[in-house]
């Protein structure tokens, strides 16, 4: 569905400035129906990757294909694509209603006035439909963006920081809209820093650091990567394996943390030493733990 093959994008600071590599040998495949989060620290290249998928940046090296075609701005491919930009780059001299109707006309969606109004109602801008976009708050502008994403039934949706500036009610609305699109079979690519949001919506995540893809996997698999641990409380044996971290005394006993993968080996070690394991609890890792772990790995 979306394929990036060894792409490299360079930026230059000024005409004769130093060359900066925004993406370097970046490869990624997004399968149909996936809801993929692009994760990475600031400046990792997430937005650049999204711009490449949209054809807004032509990579200096490598190949990008979306629905089997090279993305060219304004091409017919965009009949199947919806895009919510990070910054509110809407036509600010138009009213909310005019802007949504204009974007519908560009799509050739042929929406009636009532459909445009319904869409505006859905994103909660009914009272502000005649307000100029320039006078709208950041959150309201974001709602305009969401409305224009819902104009058609897109096959691919690109959301760049979608919850930015939204109130909690609208965040929930957006989540529901994304779930609707997901149920409709759309492939969704989200660029966001709000990991809790990603955990509730996305099926997959791609972690990017310094322009390179560190890992792309299912969220469940990503969370399990070397980050799940057991908290164990035990009677002190003669020797304590070195993988037991955070050792400290808890009364007559010793407490620590061991990687989940080492749990059975640890219990066998205690058995051989003739001491008892008093308590063990699995510490499930969050996406944040996995993200920090993966981003830390490459540094």
């Amino acid at each position: 569905m979306i394929e990036a093959e060894n792409i490299a994008v360079w930026f230059r600071k000024g005409r004769f400035g130093k060359k900066l590599e925004a993406l370097d040998d970046f490869s990624l495949v997004v399968e149909p129906g996936e809801v993929l989060a692009l994760l990475g620290p600031n400046g990792a290249g997430k937005s650049t990757a999204m711009y490449c998928f949209l054809g807004l940046i032509q990579p200096d090296r490598g190949r990008v294909s979306v629905l089997g075609q090279r993305p060219i701005p304004g091409s017919d491919l965009f009949r199947k694509i919806a895009y919510l930009p990070e910054e509110p780059h809407y036509h600010d001299y138009l009213s909310v209603r005019e802007a949504v109707a204009y974007y519908a006309a560009l799509h050739g969606a042929g929406l009636s006035e009532r459909s445009v109004d319904n869409l505006i109602d859905r994103v909660g801008l009914t009272e502000h439909r005649d307000l100029r976009v320039s006078k709208c708050s950041k959150g309201m502008k974001q709602k305009v963006g969401i409305a224009q994403c819902l104009l058609t039934c897109p096959e691919i949706v690109f959301l760049d920081e979608p919850t930015r500036g939204l109130d909690p009610i609208m965040v929930r609305e957006l989540r529901e809209a994304v779930q609707d699109l997901k149920r409709g079979g759309a492939t969704i690519v989200i660029n966001s820093h709000v990991l809790s949001e990603i955990e509730t919506v996305c099926t997959h995540a791609a972690v990017i650091k310094q322009g390179k893809l560190v890992r792309k996997d299912r969220l469940d698999d990503l969370r399990a990567v070397d980050t799940e641990t057991y908290r164990v409380v035990f009677s002190a044996p003669a020797t304590i394996p070195e993988y037991v971290a955070g050792l400290h005394a808890e009364g007559d006993l010793v407490a620590g943390e061991i990687p989940a993968a080492m749990f059975w080996e640890f219990t066998r070690h205690l058995e051989r030493s003739g001491v008892a394991l008093h308590e063990s609890s699995l510490k499930r890792s969050s996406l944040e733990d996995a993200f920090m772990n993966l981003v830390g790995q490459v540094s």
């Binding site: 940046i57 091409s75 895009y83 001299y93 138009l94 560009l106």
Partner: protein, 269 residues
């Protein structure tokens, strides 16, 4: 495609109408014209009426060209600076179609302005009861064609440069400026000697090249001078007007095609 062009034109017309800079510039130009011509409308003798109509037509036509340039420059630079073009090209509407719609919108407004100028001047002919001079139509069509060249040139420059640079380039990089520079350097070359002659020769060659590249805004100025002064239809060469219109449309189209190509090469993020 037709629907997208129409949608773009509709929005562009709203942009022109709501743009404060254009509104202020338009009002100012109208005020200047009113202040300079209104008092003489009532004080002139009938023999001076034709001269006044000529002056009004010339002044209003000049302002229409300035407004046309202003519309194109503000349209392109506003959408590129504010990056709202991103919202257009992430829909099935290519950047060249967007640019075409913008340029057509400016042409449309300029056409309305010229139609208004024609109506105003024709009304004055009727009001003062003086014989109608068809040369007025000739002059205004010729000026409208000139505005095509200016707007195309302005659109091309706006795609590659910031608005201030564009306006400076429009002021300085004019065919008339370089034509006079050519003449000046040619006469200087006659009396130049030694190293000075080489320097003048190099300067003349540079000026010649720039002059060749620059679009000519009024290609048949010398042949049209009489009709501009008299407004008499008998002085007008209508075949020449046809050539001027064809030339202006050609320059406009060339500027559009080159502008589209450069726009596609820009990183529109």
């Amino acid at each position: 495609m037709r629907g997208q062009v129409l949608a773009n034109i509709g929005v562009n017309l709203k942009f022109f109408r709501r743009n404060r800079l254009l509104f202020v510039a338009g009002s100012l130009l109208l005020l200047i014209t009113s202040l300079s011509t209104l008092p003489s409308l009532f004080a002139l003798t009938s023999s001076q009426h034709l001269e006044l109509i000529t002056a009004i037509a010339n002044q209003l036509s000049f302002f229409a060209i300035v407004l046309g340039i202003g519309m194109v420059v503000t349209f392109v630079s506003h959408h590129l600076d504010k990056r709202s073009i991103k919202m257009v090209i992430t829909k099935p509407c290519p950047p060249d179609l967007w640019l075409l719609s913008g340029m057509l919108s400016a042409v449309l407004v300029t056409a309305v302005l010229y139609a208004s100028i024609l109506s105003i001047c024709s009304s004055l002919f009727l009001y003062w009861d003086i014989p109608y001079q068809s040369g007025l139509v000739y002059v205004l069509v010729n000026d409208f064609a000139q505005s095509f060249v200016w707007m195309g040139y302005a659109a091309l420059l706006s795609v590659v440069a910031r608005p201030v640079t564009t306006l400076l380039a429009l002021l300085l990089l004019q065919d008339s400026t370089f034509y006079w520079l050519k003449l000046l350097l040619a006469s200087a070359l006659k009396s130049a000697e030694g190293a000075y002659a080489t320097a003048v020769q190099t300067a003349k060659m540079t000026v010649d090249v720039v002059y060749l590249v620059l679009p000519i805004t009024n290609p048949f100025w010398e042949k049209n001078e009489t009709v501009y002064k008299s407004l008499r239809g008998t002085d007008a060469d209508w075949t020449l007007l046809l050539s001027t219109v064809a030339y202006a449309a050609g320059v406009w189209l060339f500027c559009y095609l080159l502008g589209s190509y450069l726009l596609r090469r820009r990183r529109l993020i």
